[in-house]
């Protein structure tokens, strides 16, 4: 789908012409394993239970993946800069609850306004993360672990035992996750647009490519004249906006939003990105890979149920997949490094 400008720490000459082509073709490999796994999974499940790819089955698969896709795209941006954002589940929860509140307090509020408000709130929360990380120079893991607690606490304090149900929201809003165009539910189309836009931005623009440079070697990126802090802040901000969007869509799809909405989601999201080939130490991977990773993980859940496999295996399989993804990543990295050495030697 897209070529990814990527580099590994072992490859400082990322702009080199001949090497880049070779690198590009190799790195596309990183999305290949996860895509293959997804295809195999879907085919095997379909053969065992044809209902899996029935109209309703496909729709369910897409709907299940939608929210995690959006979150994984945002997370990929952050991870590529060698950071991580653990607070996304809490951001999603806060935004989902505020969406419920908006509809309940202002009946007849235009849906688009709710979307914008949700994304603005997400942006604000993401900006807090970004500021703390870039200004205080403290690792994102610690900061976002802190904001994970704080945002969740705020959500609990605000919501208390209050929950808003699907019945409190306009039918048009709920039907965003019911109505389909060409077999795709509307909210899934939103997710696809997000993936395409962010993917194009990452490949086609300078700031997008800067994120890879920062993740590969922050010190070098700074020396290179890249405004590191600003770019990292941008990544967190974007991730916040996307988590906000996901929060609004959550309210559209599910019945109730309350104090605990979205808790524990951060692990799934990081896992989706990692399984999709985004290296956890930054600098490589793509948002498309992350999105496919999200589809794979959510499909596994459905497939296990459709195959009537003991659902207790599900989490263990997810764990094994994450490990497999890291190992594949390492092998790919080693091979790239070797090829590079060979090509460099030839150039000399």
């Amino acid at each position: 789908m897209t070529t990814t400008p990527t580099s590994t720490p072992a490859a400082p000459e990322r702009e080199a012409g001949g090497g880049a082509r070779l690198l590009g073709s190799l790195l596309r490999l990183r999305e290949v394993p996860v895509t293959l796994a997804l295809i195999v999974l879907v085919v095997v499940t379909y053969l065992a239970n044809p209902l899996f790819l029935g109209a309703q089955g496909v729709k369910d698969l897409l709907l299940n993946a939608t929210i995690v896709i959006i979150l994984a795209v945002g997370q990929a941006l952050v991870i590529i800069t060698r950071n991580v954002d653990l607070s996304v589940g809490s951001i999603l929860g806060l935004v989902a609850f505020s969406t419920g509140t908006l509809f309940a307090t202002f009946p007849g509020i235009p849906i688009i306004v709710v979307f914008l408000a949700g994304m603005a709130l997400g942006a604000l929360l993401g900006a807090v993360n970004g500021l703390l990380v870039t200004v205080a120079k403290v690792p994102a893991l610690v900061i976002t672990l802190g904001t994970l607690y704080i945002y969740r606490g705020l959500n609990n304090a605000w919501a208390g035992g209050k929950q808003y149900f699907a019945g409190d929201r306009p039918d048009a809003f709920g039907s965003l996750s019911v109505d389909t165009v060409l077999g795709f539910p509307l909210i899934t189309l939103i997710a696809i647009v997000v993936v395409v836009v962010v993917a194009v931005y990452m490949v086609g623009t300078r700031p997008g490519r800067d994120l890879y440079a920062i993740g590969s070697d922050p010190a070098a990126a700074e020396l290179f004249g890249i405004p590191v802090s600003r770019r990292v802040f941008l990544a967190f901000l974007t991730n916040g906006v996307l988590a906000g969007l996901a929060g609004v869509l959550y309210a559209s799809r599910f019945n109730s939003v309350g104090a605990t909405t979205g808790s524990g989601l951060e692990l799934d999201v990081v896992a989706a990105a990692v399984v999709g080939g985004v290296a956890i130490f930054g600098g490589s991977g793509s948002v498309v890979g992350a999105a496919i990773g999200a589809v794979l993980l959510t499909t596994i859940t459905s497939a296990l149920t459709a195959l009537r496999v003991d659902k207790f295996w599900q989490q263990a399989i997810v764990g094994a997949l994450i490990l497999a993804a890291i190992i594949i990543d390492r092998i790919a990295g080693l091979r790239t490094a070797k090829k590079l050495r060979v090509s460099e030697a030839r150039d000399v």
């Binding site: 200004v135 690792p139 610690v142 802190g146 606490g153 304090a157 989490q315 764990g319 490990l323 890291i326």
Partner: protein, 370 residues
Amino acid sequence: MSNTVTTTPALDTSKTLAAEPRGRTGAARLLLGRDAVMIYALLAFVLYGMIAIPRFASPVTVGFLLLDVIPVLLIALPMTLIIITGEIDLSVASIAGLTSALMGVLWAAGLDIGTVLAISLLAGVAAGAFNGFLVAVVGLPSLAVTIGTLALFRGLALVVIGDNAVANFPPELTAFFTSKLGGTGIPTVMIGVVLVALFFGVLLHFTPFGRGLYALGFSKEAATFVGIKVARAKFWLYVGSGSVSALAGIYWTLRYSSARSDNASGLELTVIAAVLLGGVSIFGGKGSIPGVIAGVLLIGTINFALRLGRVSDVVLIIVTGTLLIASVVAPSVFEAIKRWQHNRRLRRSLPQVPASGETNATAPGVQERK
């Protein structure tokens, strides 16, 4: 970023900017370092609680409080060593959960309790060795590996025991795990916990292996250069982490006399928060066991005080998050202010030096911190 501290030697700024001698050792370090401050903070809070919080000053507090913090306290010990080497282990709570599930199934299958405990502990050792193999031998990033095993081990716990719970452990044993040492209110199991703490404390602070871990956290290359077997050291740390997590899992199961797959879930975050609050640097190379113990106890005490005051857990969550961020952001902010003041002083005292050489060197760093 280490390149920010660049000064021109001619300006004689080294006195203010260069690091103080870091080499305080032994008692001096223990009494004057950051850990000491953590301990003073703990003591101050306990004192505050005894004066200001009704019913706080009682041996019952000691018992309940310690029973609550023991799992975190146990796991925090090996976690300290791991974070000091610049790695992390997110799978600890899942290992505890897996141990608990295994205990339940084996006990329900009618095995002798001694055998059950031994097998469960071995499972923890194996889980730790698995992590250690992937991190130390294969050389994969520990964050990614342990996120994977976090899901994997919890998943295996579910596979082992499923939705069931096993509760009928021998009453003498479960009673022992909540029993107290005479009238002191101190739980009997604390003896074991103190032994484990002593083991890790001595290992870290009084052996060449421990000092090597600090070197490892500062620079892997340097550590290799001075003869530390990096891979072997890391491997054994993860084995230690797995074993202690298994102990925590056993404790959890017997204290609540309930073996379930979701036992101790989410505990890894509490442990890491406590370790960081206890003064261990997430970058590695810095931290100590006494500081971490004080950190764990401080969070535990605040927690307990809030419960006694019947304050909702909502406040607790926010307090934990804020403490965590404050403990890591405050030094950076302080550093930034100091640097800014220093630069201002520099500019004032040396007006004849044009902005070219000196400010170019420090300006980017300062700008970033604004």
